[in-house]
């Protein structure tokens, strides 16, 4: 898997839902969206582009199920502006090529909005297609910064980009761990470098000092000389922003070398595979991540959790709640616009502010999420748990 342009490869914290819908792959016909979308009366057709085949398929299915839950609830209460929501799912397989085909297909079917997306590398090439069609493109879990740098006015990311994560990480280092010297390392992938740089920037001016960011090629398995360097620098914590395979190797070698300093990873390393591969050395390590379905608190979250379980006989996936919030973002925007017309819904999304499961949902001018909750996880007895001390929410 290439490291650039990432996504969340991760994190099947709950059980995997097994119901894979195998998407068919009909030839792409790009018809005019506007022509066909007007035809549907009484229904509000919403496209969902998700990986439903391939390695990321479980995550795609979990997000889709979260959306289905929201749609059921809204339709049971009379729908949106008198229209019942109908979801149309297409497989993007977490691949750029397939994602473009899926987008063309959805647009030609006349969907009036897109709420989906898991892999940034698949989401990015499909962006211009939704933009040309003039419909809202609400990305549920894809969160590369590059997704919101093309100037498209219809792109909204529910999963916050690296900036907020960096903020959470630096708050954790300065206010909870209260450490002097943090050693930041990335794996040279776009996402990891971004988080590393932003964290360093965020720590500048605090009492916590960082050293030069160490960029470790993603093919490296041996961290011993990096560990020598951080030891001689006097680092008292490590922040690893890359992926899980190297995280496991890094922490094992760190502990083997006799260094017991806190090891904190960014969300790219949050997956049960990391815990398995790092073995006993995973215990006590931390991770920063946008709040996952399994760590939501409050009565709305409990209702979500129990209705998800009773409908799908599975625990919500890490991003199921984002799918749920994505549908509500669209519907709230449509209601406040008083119209299902895509251009009006897009305008309303820019003004949107409501309390979702994953925190306040609103978007910056470029479409990036504002107001999401971040949490710090700790590995306890081979499982992710909420760390006992969380940095204050900003």
């Amino acid at each position: 898997m290439s490291g650039s342009m990432v996504h969340r490869s991760l994190a099947v914290v709950g059980a995997l839902s097994a119901a894979l819908v195998v998407g068919c792959c009909s030839a792409t016909t790009v018809a005019s969206a506007a022509a066909s979308s007007a035809a549907s009366s009484g229904t509000y057709l919403v496209g969902v582009s998700e990986p439903i085949t391939g390695a990321e398929a479980p995550s795609g299915t979990e997000i889709y199920d979260g959306e289905v839950l929201a749609v059921d609830k809204i339709n049971a209460a009379g729908g949106v502006l008198g229209h019942k929501i109908v979801l149309k799912e297409e497989d993007d397989a977490c691949e750029p090529q397939t994602s473009v085909n899926a987008a063309n297909k959805l647009v030609s079917l006349g969907v009036q909005a897109m709420v989906g997306g898991y892999c940034s590398s698949a989401a990015e090439p499909a962006e211009p297609i939704y933009t040309r069609a003039g419909i809202p493109n609400i990305q549920v879990a894809a969160n590369a910064t590059t997704l919101v740098t093309h100037g498209y006015k219809n792109v909204f990311l529910l999963d916050p980009t690296g900036g907020l994560q960096a903020h959470e990480a630096s708050a954790f280092f300065t206010q909870i761990l209260k450490l002097k010297n943090v050693f930041i390392a990335d794996d040279e992938s776009t996402y990891a470098v971004n988080v590393a740089n932003l964290t360093k920037k965020d720590l500048a001016g605090t009492s916590t000092k960082t050293f030069a960011i160490e960029a470790i090629p993603s093919t490296d398995q041996d961290f011993s000389s990096v560990i020598d360097t951080l030891r001689s620098d006097g680092a008292d914590a490590v922040y690893w922003t890359g992926y899980f395979a190297q995280a496991a190797e890094f922490v094992r070698q760190l502990r083997t070398a006799g260094l017991k300093i806190p090891f904190v990873t960014a969300d790219g390393s949050v997956t049960p595979t990391y815990i398995k591969d790092a073995g006993a050395d995973a215990t006590g390590t931390y991770s920063t991540i946008a709040v996952l379905s399994s760590f939501l608190t409050g009565s709305a979250a409990q209702t979500f959790d129990s209705s998800y379980k009773s409908k799908f006989h599975a625990t919500p996936g890490p991003y199921s709640a984002y799918g749920y919030d994505g549908i509500y973002a669209l519907v709230d925007a449509a209601k406040s616009a008083g119209s299902l017309t895509p251009s009006k819904v897009i305008a309303a999304l820019h003004r949107l502010k409501f309390k979702g499961l994953t925190g306040t949902v609103s978007f910056a001018a470029n479409g990036a999420r504002v107001g999401a909750h971040f949490i710090v996880l700790e590995v306890v007895k081979g499982k992710y748990e909420l760390a006992p001390h969380q940095p204050p929410t900003s």
């Binding site: 000389s225 020598d228 395979a245 496991a248 591969d277 790092a278």
Partner: protein
């Protein structure tokens, strides 16, 4: 950059280099006898790692290391690596005996792809990073604040013994003499009554076996395996073989250790993102000053 850091980087580099060296020896011996750059060699290492993973997983209870198990699985892994290498040589390279060197090299690349994608498609192996079934204990000793484990010491020790064994076979036994004869002139060796096919098989077997030994030791140390793990290390081992003088066992060993130290010290001085640039810069400089590699001899003397 303190002296202490340089010293600990050199030690770390020797450890990294030991794995390069074990794989480089196989690369080098095969090149010496067939003039073939066997790009599939790194994948012998990878397949051997998966074999040791499966066997060790089946016999291990809990995560505690049973050294008896590790030793016999290690021997089986070496044999498996050797058998795999011989099978590839017999099935793929042997029928191409009269083909151009370039065709052989492309075939080797093909074998590499077949092995990688073959492992990818085996259900219990696949594309995931798999945790190695046993974790070595962290007991060891501390020198100037740096902790070394007995496992690390053992790995370097075993690597040295195995490479010494390969050197001894090539230079001090009848079989080794036959290998050098085949390397110098295959036709003449055949006319002298040497069974060249068998000698070639033995060379592949030794190379594959050393890759197998490296595979189980490194998997034990790094703790996870993946179907692409052979690619990068294979490339570095090939580089090490060239650095030391390809076709020469002692050169490959020296090249491997040196490349490991260069990468490690490069990381210490310039940071990990510059390590390969530093190491390969040193390679280019070495080849510029000494095109045959450090211990490279005249072409006629190779193996």
């Amino acid at each position: 950059m303190s002296l202490e850091l340089v010293v600990s980087d050199i030690v770390a580099g020797l450890f990294l280099g030991a794995s390069f060296a074990l794989i480089a020896v196989g690369y080098s011996m095969v090149y010496g006898i067939l003039r073939l750059i066997n790009f599939a060699h790194g994948d012998f290492y990878m397949v051997a790692a998966f074999i040791s993973y499966t066997i060790l997983g089946a016999v291990t209870v809990g995560t505690k290391v049973d050294w008896g198990n590790v030793v016999w699985v290690g021997v089986v892994t070496m044999l498996a690596g050797g058998v795999l290498a011989v099978a590839v040589a017999k099935l793929v390279y042997s029928p191409m005996r009269r083909a151009a060197t370039l065709s052989l090299m492309i075939a080797a690349l093909g074998v590499s792809q077949i092995l990688e994608n073959g492992v990818l498609n085996i259900p219990s192996w696949g594309s995931n990073y798999l945790p190695f079934p046993v974790t070595p204990p962290s007991a060891g000793f501390t020198v100037a604040t740096v902790h070394y484990t007995w496992t690390q010491v053992g790995i370097i020790g075993i690597a040295v013994v195995l490479m010494g064994g390969a050197y001894w076979i090539v230079n001090h036994t009848m079989v080794g003499t036959a290998m050098r004869a085949v390397a110098q002139d295959r036709t003449a060796a055949m006319l002298m009554g040497i069974k060249t096919d068998r000698i070639i098989s033995i060379v592949f077997f030794i190379g594959g076996g050393l890759a197998g030994a490296a595979a189980i030791m490194m998997s034990l140390y790094y703790g996870e395996i993946n179907y692409l793990m052979g690619f990068s290390i294979g490339l570095q081992a090939f580089t090490a073989a060239v650095l030391g003088g390809i076709g020469n066992v002692a050169g490959a060993a020296l090249g491997g250790l040196l490349l490991g130290v260069l990468e490690s010290v490069g990381t210490g001085i310039f940071g990990a993102q510059w390590a390969l640039l530093f190491a390969f810069g040193a390679l280019v400089l070495t080849l510029w000053l000494r095109p045959r590699g450090l211990l490279g001899e005249r072409v006629g003397q190779r193996v």
